[in-house]
Point group: C2
Chain length 374, copies 2
């Protein structure tokens, strides 16, 4: 990950070893600022207010949140309270539960005086592993891109590969690399010609504000479109592949991801466009099969639909780059409904790109890659 020539991560242990730094993603792309989390409450608030977001990053932040809680009180009851607080922040992404379980299991096995150090070690390990998993996804995804170019009709091999993505599943959603964008970065650094269609991703606009920010910083050619446009682009042959991340994948391959993903998957099928989902194994929920009935879908504030934030454009058309303001879009009496995720049935998914390679979206194929899971 590269921000104005400097390598960054989205989350890090501060030098004091007892607080955690993160990039404040609610102010991007207009203002780049970091904040320091010193308590479990602050970590929980950072997750629920989407200062940090993205399934892998939520998991790592949760893990560090337990460390912060244990610094205040290393008792078992404090650990359980912190677990409950953190798990309640976002119900859909399974990575959070997975990370909290990992840390809880390890610290539960040691005495209170060792718990902070063990939590710190485990959280840091989860962060390191996330980077490694995402880099592996990058390689497997890049292989798929190469294959797609190879299969093109003669004469079109040199055209840029057009990839459409929804939401943000780049480095800002993980610790580094990202999931869906990782293969794009790998390909770009290997001089493959590619161009990314970026879905705006209402209501929180993670595409318009975060994916564009990342791709700009990395120098990857891209074009922003509203969420409504993807089907039209596919009808006219402008999309070679769709690639998205996920917040939870069931063992049968149903994919829960940012609201609107399902509509793009339908359009991809209707137009013969391959639809890939990039997921570290921490996003696979082996305890459930049916995505539509078994995954809790977070319902967020209607204010996210009725209002939007941006950099103020003054009446003379200048933009005050750092003056972030909110505007009301709809009539004041209008009520809104704001489901944050939807479920794409496995039959619409061409493949799942994991850190161990490509799986088809079904139990047999996933199990072959992860035989240790039940």
């Amino acid at each position: 990950m590269n921000i104005d020539g400097n390598p960054w991560r989205t989350i890090w242990l501060e030098r004091d070893g007892s607080s955690v730094g993160v990039i404040d993603q609610t102010k991007l792309p207009h203002v780049f600022t970091t904040i320091s989390l010193s308590t479990c409450k602050e970590a929980a608030d950072a997750i629920s207010s989407m200062v940090v977001r993205g399934a892998p990053l939520i998991g790592v932040t949760g893990a560090y949140g337990l460390m912060l809680a244990l610094q205040e009180d290393p008792s078992q009851s404090a650990l359980e309270r912190a677990y409950r607080l953190l798990i309640s922040t976002r119900p859909t992404a399974i990575n959070l539960r997975w990370a909290l379980d990992r840390v809880s299991l390890r610290v539960g096995a040691v005495k209170e005086s060792e718990r902070v150090a063990v939590a710190r070690e485990e959280a840091s390990l989860i962060a390191m592993e996330d980077v490694a998993m995402c880099e592996s996804i990058a390689s497997y995804g890049f292989d798929i891109f190469k294959k797609l170019i190879k299969e093109r009709p003669a004469g079109q091999e040199l055209e840029p590969l057009n990839v459409l993505t929804h939401c943000n599943a780049g480095w800002l959603a993980a610790v580094d690399w990202g999931t869906a964008l990782a293969p794009i970065y790998k390909a770009h650094r290997s001089d493959m010609q590619l161009h990314v269609w970026v879905d705006e991703t209402r209501p929180r606009n993670q595409g318009a504000s975060l994916t564009t920010f990342e791709l700009s910083r990395e120098g990857v050619p891209h074009t922003l479109v509203v969420d409504n446009a993807g089907g039209h682009l596919m009808q006219h042959g402008k999309v070679d592949a769709v690639i998205v991340g996920a917040d939870r994948v069931t063992k049968s391959g149903d994919v829960c991801n940012k609201i609107g993903t399902y509509l793009k998957a339908l359009a991809a099928r209707d137009n013969g466009v391959p639809f890939y989902v990039a997921v570290p194994s921490s996003t696979i929920d082996w305890s459930i099969a049916d995505g539509l009935s078994e995954i809790p879908i977070e319902s967020r504030s209607e204010r996210e639909v009725n209002e939007i934030q941006g950099a103020l454009i003054s009446s003379n058309s200048n933009v005050c780059r750092s003056e972030l303001v909110g505007v009301q879009l709809s009539p004041f009496e209008t009520r809104a409904h704001n489901p944050a995720f939807d479920v794409t049935p496995a039959e619409l998914v061409t493949g799942l790109i994991t850190e161990r390679g490509l799986a088809l979206a079904n139990y047999e194929s996933l199990k072959r890659l992860f035989p240790e899971e039940n």
Copy 2:
């Protein structure tokens, strides 16, 4: 059409008989204001800047635009210049060409001294006919709603009928009544219980700003959702029918409408939800069959994607209801692509609701209703 208890139309001849009044739709829902168009250039600007929009209303405004041009210069060359100026404003909606042709044909047959009066008469006739066609659509659409309720499983007859609509095809898009919303108003005034899911409709947000405005004023229960949410709602049985308008329908039943309509049609098919399109016959283009290859899709400014307008919310969370400001959503270097319409293939359309009744989306069925067309 009912705004705060008063009947309105979206366009009218001013008392002087030589200028035309319209509601400025770019400022809704926050500011309700009207403006007066005195020249053909002003009428053309009103169409291209979307002060007036919606296929039927664009047609009527174009017709009056010719009248305004002839007031300045009734010559044949001035008439042709005005036609070219007006037709260039929006390429997709066929109603504009249809209305300009009607007025041109009539004024072309009379001498210059009579042209203004004939243009005024023909434009007013088109406006009146539009109201009548929309009211007829209202009745036929209401019949369909009644049938949908009748076919429900026993015990569910009293649940509100949940209708999803995309963009704005209400009275603001026509002269009165509207197309897709007309049956909803008819049903509501007949005490049918119904609830409307309103797609926000990025990038110009005609759903969030105009459809919500109309439904509020008419007292119809409704909920705003982002464009991404419709598929999820259908997967969970929350939508009984989709109903939209159109900017052009081919003789084989392909439907060109606001960008994103195609995605909703795909989701409707995938979930067994009926998908209706409400169109006056002025929206049917009998000269073409294949929507995907034959309809020009307007590409609008990328600023409509990168920026958005709303009522400023001050830092203390108060909203300045009348202070409309623009905000930049994406990084300043980001380029955007903004196709304004897409095409829904006929096979995804359950039926076309016209002023002569319901047609299937195919040539034979349309021709049966409109035998006079070629």
